[in-house]
């Protein structure tokens, strides 16, 4: 079927809403209290550390990666429900945080937080024009949405390069960027599972590490790089178990919410990470 479908830069708004506007209540039933919907981090923690602690570790890791400190103005591209920004304000002394989101439910959630140092903008990164520069940028779990499956490798890398150029410009050529994204590992784009590609994340395409290295060349230097795929496997399994617990205790009603679909998606993702088909990149960039 041929559709007159325009490819949107910086993440398709319709696609983002498809995934994230299932309802804040649904997500809050199985995410940790900080509503962090991305991989936690167990590095430096005991193997059996609870999800909340590992999510906190992840938030602090990115804050440290960009050298977050007193008085800084920090941008969060794809801010979700604002957990990263709240942590930057509370624990790292950031003066002002601005988050970009495409989800109206997430925007509303952040706006009711009541912290004047935290703001959110309903915009994709491509159209965003800040009125003042930022000292640092963090982006967790957004990069996965930037490219489109119908784009060629060169087109995808072109989009990624525009993103890196935009980040550089928003910091006036001086600062750090901390990125966390799922990436293809041993699996190639052609092997992607149609259930995840169509049902869960329509119009999204994952990067490869190579795409990122090529796209940032001359704009950012890679300062440190980790592949923490097993962290994401564990996170997905914990979410799936919590979702099951929420159903059992009656907090989530399978007649209303897509429990079966999410449970399958979370466990399939976990399997993909465990089989190293996909990985979780955490990359700290610095301007050259």
């Amino acid at each position: 079927m041929i559709q007159d479908e325009q490819i949107e830069f910086g993440g398709s708004a319709a696609a983002i809403r498809h995934h994230y506007d299932v309802g804040n209540d649904f997500y809050s039933a199985w995410l940790d209290p900080s509503m962090t919907y991305s991989s936690a981090m167990w590095d430096g923690l005991p193997k059996d550390a609870p999800l909340e602690e590992a999510q906190q570790r992840k938030l602090d890791y990115h804050a440290e990666s960009v050298g977050a400190g007193e008085g800084m103005r920090i941008l969060d591209v794809g801010c979700g429900w604002g957990g990263m920004m709240r942590n930057l304000r509370r624990r790292h002394g950031a003066a002002e945080c601005v988050g970009l989101t495409l989800s109206e439910e997430q925007l509303a959630y952040i706006e009711q937080s009541g912290d004047p140092g935290i703001g959110a903008v309903l915009s994709n990164w491509h159209d965003y024009r800040p009125d003042r520069p930022f000292d640092a940028i963090i982006s967790v779990g957004a990069f996965e949405h930037f490219a489109h499956p119908q784009q060629s490798v060169d087109e995808r890398r072109g989009v990624y390069r525009e993103f890196f150029q935009a980040c550089r410009d928003w910091m006036e050529g001086k600062g750090r960027l901390s990125l966390q994204t799922i990436a293809y590992g041993r699996m190639s784009p052609e092997d992607a599972n149609p259930f995840i590609a169509n049902e869960i994340f329509p119009a999204a395409e994952l990067p490869t590490l190579e795409d990122i290295v090529v796209a940032c060349k001359g704009l950012f230097r890679v300062e440190r790089l980790r592949d923490d795929g097993l962290d994401y496997a564990r996170t997905c399994e914990m979410w799936s178990n919590r979702l099951r617990g929420a159903v059992r205790s009656g907090v989530v009603d399978p007649a209303i919410h897509p429990v079966e679909k999410y449970s399958r998606y979370l466990r399939m993702s976990a399997a993909g990470f465990r089989m190293r088909k996909i990985g979780l990149l955490r990359i700290a960039f610095a301007t050259e």
């Binding site: 399994e237 799936s240 399939m268 089989m275």
Partner: protein, 100 residues
């Protein structure tokens, strides 16, 4: 929740079940699936792997999910079956503790 009891299968029974299911998925005779081989050596994709886990959990009548690492991180199917049998036994003990 339902009051159905967990099926306390032995490691050997679980091993046979997994081998039969792998054989079905990759379309070979069960005898061709070695219990000494790791699960990820059969080229089973993540969707089928999860279906297998869900079916196994249903067969065992488990109230909770089995950790995927029991299947994926084990060096051999035999070790996976041993780990799963231990996890099942733990869950049954918990179930026993709260049942009237």
């Amino acid at each position: 929740m339902n009051s159905d009891l967990i099926r306390q299968a032995s490691a050997e029974e679980i091993e046979s079940w997994i081998i039969a299911r792998i054989a079905e998925i990759v379309n070979v005779a069960p005898a061709a699936v070695s219990p000494d081989a790791p699960f990820d050596s059969f080229g089973i994709d993540s969707a089928k792997a999860i279906s297998l886990m869900v079916e196994l959990e249903n067969w065992l009548n488990l109230p909770d999910e089995l950790p995927l690492e029991l299947l994926f991180e084990a060096e051999a199917i035999r070790d996976a079956a041993t780990g799963i049998a231990a996890a099942v036994s733990d869950m049954a003990a918990q179930q026993g503790g709260v049942r009237p």
